[in-house]
């Protein structure tokens, strides 16, 4: 359970930092009056949707941290046979990086008020994401063809389950991306669109980050890395 | 007024019920009286806190319930009082935790001279295995289980041949000898539970769990399953009998070894002789 405990510690640090800005030590019964009359607590100036996405990412992070925890606990059982990672995954990873870059580009374009580039960025990001998903399906097919079925080893089961969970989150993101692209297409005002593009880009970067973490896990690199750290410490 | 009295009566009644309850823990049969002592300490500390809080509350309701013209006192906080209460609570908690951890340390430290025995749970019966003359038990695996080999003992392990196997019978133990009870399950979670022993532990398929104890008095005790294991969970019972050494030896002599039970007795006994001498 170390992965999830670590994740929770990070969340606790963020929450603690935020709470430390909220004057929790103040004595509210002495502070009568309008807000401006005493050292103000920081007001939340982010739009609701952005905070909402932040909280949602914490939930998604918790979900994947738990998958990773389960993976690393199950991995220590004797029947574990590590799954060979299909080479296609490297291609998929590159595509997902491209997708993320495209959305970042769209976001930068949105800040420049360049509608044309926004639409191009969004479409490119979407196409790359769909390519990634197709690539993942192909990787599944390759594995199945090579005889690595979902139930034949826990390592396989985890691979299918975790990639499916990641893919489903990406599909959810594609729905949001589709709506944003449709808005851009309809020619919605840029200030309204900017936030949607930004949120899509954040979500994409986050899913890319998760994918890299998962890839490290599936290839066993994370394991080796932790091992090296442990040896350095002892 | 009436409310305050009823609240106080709840606290008094709880204490009286505790004192006069005919339902109390069973007379202990192992060395784990430490556990009972820790429970007693906990009862004392929590009992005092319980009574004090409820009595104080009842007094407040009695003394400060609404009357015409009463005004509540304005008092946002009292840091000193809160800190003292926190420190007092922390001390009370430590007074329960410290003996608890101390006894837990004993609970998980098995003495070197403890005899290993094995209890196996399956839906919905108990089986037992005792080491044979060589003092060691053979290895097991779920994959070896068959109608002739219900406990899944490894046929190729010479230590297993002389193990005493008691399939769905009663277990006997000698009084005064520490035992390490190895726990195993072949299907679902079970829990070897004898109330008088105090110690218990879940049995988990795929792994071997354990606890240890020294029976301190002879007698016959009910064995129950304490981890939900399916339809007949409540009927999964047997008995464990703690004997004087002589009676125990007499009982042990009548039990069959794995080799005898598995029908390969002639062959395996020969192997055992040649292997052992």
């Amino acid at each position: 359970m170390s992965a999830i405990v670590l994740f929770m510690a990070v969340i606790a640090v963020i929450a603690g930092w935020w709470l430390s800005q909220q004057r929790l030590m103040s004595k509210p019964w002495l502070e009568e009056g309008a807000l401006g009359d005493f050292p103000a607590a920081h007001e939340m100036t982010w739009p609701a949707a952005k905070i909402g996405l932040g909280v949602f990412l914490a939930v998604v992070g918790s979900l994947f941290a738990l998958f990773i925890s389960a993976y690393s606990m199950r991995m220590n059982m004797t029947d574990w046979r590590t799954l060979p990672v299909p080479g296609l995954l490297w291609f998929n990873t590159a595509v997902l990086v491209l997708s993320s870059v495209a959305l970042q580009w769209a976001y930068v374009a949105a800040r420049r008020d360049d509608m044309e580039d926004v639409v191009i960025g969004l479409c490119a990001g979407g196409v790359a994401a769909v390519t990634f998903l197709v690539g993942q399906l192909l990787a599944w097919q390759q594995l199945r063809a090579a005889g690595y079925f979902v139930a034949s080893n826990p390592s396989n089961s985890f691979f299918y389950m975790i990639t499916a969970a990641h893919g489903l989150h990406l599909i959810g993101g594609l729905v949001a991306l589709g709506r944003t692209t449709a808005k851009a297409w309809r020619g919605v005002e840029m200030p309204q669109l900017r936030l949607s593009v930004e949120l899509c880009a954040i979500y994409w970067h986050f899913l890319l980050l998760i994918w890299l973490a998962l890839l490290g896990l599936l290839t066993g690199w994370t394991d080796e890395f932790v091992d090296i750290c442990r040896r350095l410490l002892t | 007024m009436a409310v305050a009295i009823i609240l106080l009566l709840v606290a008094v009644g709880s204490v009286l019920f505790h004192i006069y309850s005919p339902w109390w823990w069973t007379p202990i049969a192992t060395n784990w009286s430490y556990i009972d002592h820790t429970i007693s300490i906990t009862f004392w500390i929590t009992g005092v806190v319980f009574f004090a809080v409820i009595a104080f509350m009842a007094y407040c309701v009695f003394r400060f319930h609404h009357k015409e013209g009463r005004q509540a006192h304005y008092n946002p906080e009292n840091k000193k009082l809160e800190w003292w209460l926190s420190i007092g609570t922390a001390i009370g908690v430590a007074a329960m935790l410290a003996p608890g951890l101390f006894v837990w340390h004993q609970f998980v430290t098995v003495p070197a001279d403890a005899t290993e025995i094995e209890v196996m749970g399956q839906q919905w019966q108990w089986s037992f295995r005792l080491p044979g003359k060589d003092g060691r038990m053979g290895t097991t695996d779920v994959r070896y289980i068959s109608p002739e080999n219900p406990m899944g003992v490894n046929r190729d392990d010479k230590h297993g041949q002389d193990d005493v196997v008691i399939e769905s019978g009663e277990l006997h133990l000698p009084v005064g000898k520490p035992v390490k009870v190895l726990l195993r399950s072949v299907d679902v979670l079970h829990d070897f539970y004898v109330p008088e022993f105090r110690a218990k532990m879940d049995m988990v398929p795929g792994m071997v769990t354990y606890f240890w104890m020294t029976p301190i008095r002879t007698g016959t005790f009910d064995v129950l399953c304490a981890e939900l294991c399916g339809s007949a969970h409540a009927q999964m019972r047997t008995k464990v009998i703690v004997d004087e050494q002589s009676e125990y030896d007499a009982w042990l002599a009548q039990q069959k070894t794995f080799a005898e039970l598995s029908g390969r007795n002639a062959v395996t006994k020969a192997t055992y002789r040649s292997g052992g001498k």
Partner: protein, 591 residues
């Protein structure tokens, strides 16, 4: 710390807090059924939770009939008994208490108490309810599928949960897991709303330290739920894989009824870790809203500010954080590595300190108060007794070595029913008596309320207090019939019969409550806008019940914390939060 004299306080212009784009209903359907108004969603959540909760109540009667009079009711067999305990537990913990506190009270109270017009994502909020309803329906459908609902116990421990020796192995367990997954998806949608509304949509002047403890409790509980429910989600998905696809996440090699199964290598303990990583925070997900609400009930009805508000806030945050590192105290006898026992016993007992502070502060709030023994106050007092009792028995079970003899006995059942069954339900009931006037504009009948309180409180106490001693004796839980055992004296059966009769009585008292709810809706005494003369914002709405958008034209501005009761020198014994200074005549007060 700035002490501003009354005269120096100047009125500020109405809040220009960004107004939520309100969705305005166009038809009866979008107003009352597919509504995006948090208040309507709150009532939908509450009614659905109550309906499925009644099913769980009936199940508890059936269980008690069997336990009190074994063999008398031939229509209850061992399998059905297990199905009853499973459904009762799961419904009560998740589909009733979690949904009611967060989906019900959270939706109703958060926007009103922080001065928002509605939740920040009304559409997602609506979806949350409908997915919850679907989850409830899927759960209820298991009563009608072949094999019936699962009988694996609410903990759903594998391998037992998905093997044939347990009832409901075909459909019951699959639908149960599906329903849980749906619940979690629905809850996440709702939970995002509650958190972001508190973070972002508080009205002008509503700093965190001016929020009522109700909002603090629900807010912290929601954050915990958002982070903890994924653990149940992961466990459910993995168990579905094991059950449907034949994987071996949790399934070791095993022999079932003499048959070698194709599973191998998995770890049942892994499931327990995941389950309790959710399961322990879940206890506080139910408890923290109750803590918050009961603080406000005590404060309002004792006409006194909550004692030690800051400590109360810190304690809520501390309990919320600590509750994530105590999960394995449910697993002391699970066979996990014994060294964990030291760690988890210590963390578990540390949590007792902030919890105890909360209890002290509740009773110290009563000290030198002006205690109105209204029905909500009675329920708050009942909560304190049951919670103190259940909390203290938690010190037995949290202390690892004491847990060894007591785990899986009726002691555990008595403990958790006292602390997270009876105690939170006391708060739920008290809260309904408290806020019903705001929701309907009418008071609940007082005489019926008092009858309901005394029967429920004393009855529940008489059920669960003696039950501890059955457990101390050694009677295991989840037995449909304790049968014959040398250590069980025959008087135990008498006690069991007594407990069962009390359970029936307490159950029927809830029918009186339901009658009161319905009757008062039409015939109750009109309440006015602020019958309890409370300070918090929800009592200051221009309309009662609050209209769509809550506040009419202008959002309220907050000038003070939520607990200005009996302030020396003030003309009345309460000053609403949106009152700029203490002297002017108050609006919205009851005559």
């Amino acid at each position: 710390m700035v002490d501003v004299p009354y005269d120096a306080v100047t009125e500020v212009p109405p809040a220009e807090v960004a107004e939520v784009d309100l969705y305005h209903p166009r038809s009866w359907w979008t107003r009352y059924v597919f509504s995006q108004d948090a208040k309507v969603i709150a009532i939908q959540y509450s009614l659905t939770a109550t309906a499925i909760g009644l099913v769980a109540l009936v199940l508890s009667w059936l269980m008690r009939l069997q336990l009190g009079f074994p063999g008398t009711f031939s229509f209850i067999d061992a399998n059905q008994y297990l199905q009853f305990i499973t459904m009762h537990g799961m419904i009560m913990v998740i589909y009733l208490l979690t949904a009611l506190f967060l989906g019900g009270f959270g939706n109703y109270l958060i926007p009103l108490m922080v001065g928002a017009r509605d939740m920040v994502f009304p559409y997602v909020n609506m979806l949350s309810y409908w997915i919850y309803l679907l989850a409830v329906l899927v759960l209820a459908s298991t009563f009608f599928v072949p094999g019936g609902p699962t009988g694996a116990g609410w903990t759903l421990y594998p391998p037992q949960a998905i093997l044939a020796g347990t009832p409901g192995q075909d459909w019951g367990i699959v639908l149960m897991l599906a329903s849980l997954i749906l619940f979690i998806i629905g809850f996440t949608m709702g939970g995002l709303n509650y958190v972001v509304t508190v973070l972002q949509a508080r009205t002008r002047g509503m700093t965190l330290m001016r929020m009522p403890l109700t909002v603090w409790g629900i807010f912290t509980a929601t954050i915990m739920a958002l982070l903890a429910f994924p653990a149940l989600f992961v466990a459910s998905v993995m168990m579905l894989f094991d059950r449907l696809l034949g994987t071996s996440f949790f399934m070791p090699a095993l022999v079932e009824m003499g048959q070698q199964m194709k599973y191998g290598g998995g770890s049942p303990i892994l499931f327990q870790h995941l389950f309790w990583f959710f399961g322990h925070p879940e206890v506080y997900i139910v408890a923290l809203p109750a803590f918050g609400i009961v603080s406000d009930l005590i404060s309002v009805h004792a006409r006194k500010n909550i004692f030690g508000y800051r400590m109360m806030v810190w304690a809520i945050v501390a309990i919320g954080a600590l509750s994530f590192i105590v999960w394995a105290h449910h697993m002391y006898v699970s066979g996990m590595h014994p060294k964990f026992g030291f760690f988890f016993a210590t963390t578990t007992l540390i949590i007792a300190v902030p919890t105890a502070i909360k209890v002290y502060n509740w009773v110290l709030t009563l000290w030198r108060g002006d205690i109105h023994l209204t029905v909500p106050m009675l329920f708050a007092l009942g909560f304190i007794i049951t919670f103190v009792n259940g909390g203290l028995t938690g010190l037995f079970l949290g202390n690892v070595v004491v847990d060894v003899p007591l785990s899986d006995t009726m002691f555990v059942v008595a403990h958790f029913h006292m602390v997270m069954g009876v105690a939170p339900i006391m708060v739920v009931l008290g809260a309904i008596y408290h806020w019903y006037p705001k929701m309907t504009g009418r008071m609940l009948n007082d005489a019926l309320g008092k009858f309901h309180f005394w029967v429920t409180f004393l009855g529940a106490y008489l059920i669960f207090f003696p039950m501890h001693y059955i457990g101390l004796l050694g009677v295991p839980r989840r037995y449909h019939d304790i049968g014959e055992a040398a250590f069980i004296p025959s008087s135990t059966h008498t006690l069991n019969a007594f407990i069962s009769i009390m359970a029936l009585i307490v159950g029927f008292a809830q029918m009186v409550f339901l009658f009161n709810l319905a009757w008062s809706y039409f015939k109750g005494r009109p309440s006015g806008g602020n019958p309890w003369r409370a300070t918090t914002l929800e009592w200051q709405t221009p309309e009662t019940p609050p209209g769509h958008g809550n506040w009419g034209k202008e959002l309220p501005v907050v000038y003070r914390w939520a607990y200005d009761y009996s302030v020396p020198g003030a003309p009345q014994d309460f000053i609403p939060q949106n009152q700029p200074r203490a002297t002017p005549v108050l609006q919205g007060a009851a005559p």
